[in-house]
Symmetry: C2
Subunit: 81 residues, 2 copies
């Protein structure tokens, strides 16, 4: 399970894995958050334009929370956005 995330793509992937680990579909998340399935899809696919409220709602549905920590290694240029 991927825990660390510096990019929207990594966050999306982590959310997708967490969802599947629970055996849920995007429709299940949609029902629990009142967000459209298309929105969940977009988020899981790493859209950095996603609103923070959307990310937090999905995380709440999955029973997850954020932890802000110091970066370990150096970030690649591709990790800035």
């Amino acid at each position: 399970m991927e825990l660390t995330a510096r990019t929207a793509a990594q966050i999306g992937e982590a959310l997708r894995r967490s969802r599947k680990a629970r055996g849920w579909t995007q429709g299940d998340i949609s029902a629990r958050t009142n967000l459209r399935v298309a929105t969940i899809s977009s988020l899981e696919n790493g859209d950095a334009g996603t609103k923070l409220a959307t990310v937090l709602a999905v995380m709440a549905a999955l029973g997850l929370e954020f932890r802000l920590t110091e970066r370990g290694g150096a970030a690649g240029i591709e990790d800035i956005f």
Copy 2:
């Protein structure tokens, strides 16, 4: 230093503390991210409408990264959004 964040307000507060711990102003973050000072202000004040890209850019500037973890205690109703 607050590490755990379930809400935009908690994320904003964590970013503000991290910034001040480095002795930086919002203007410093602005210069490093090309985001407007007003945008940084809005984020630090807990605007859940902030885009994920904005949060990630500020976190990169501060040398921070996210970690997605299972929620520990029960969330208050006010923590859902």
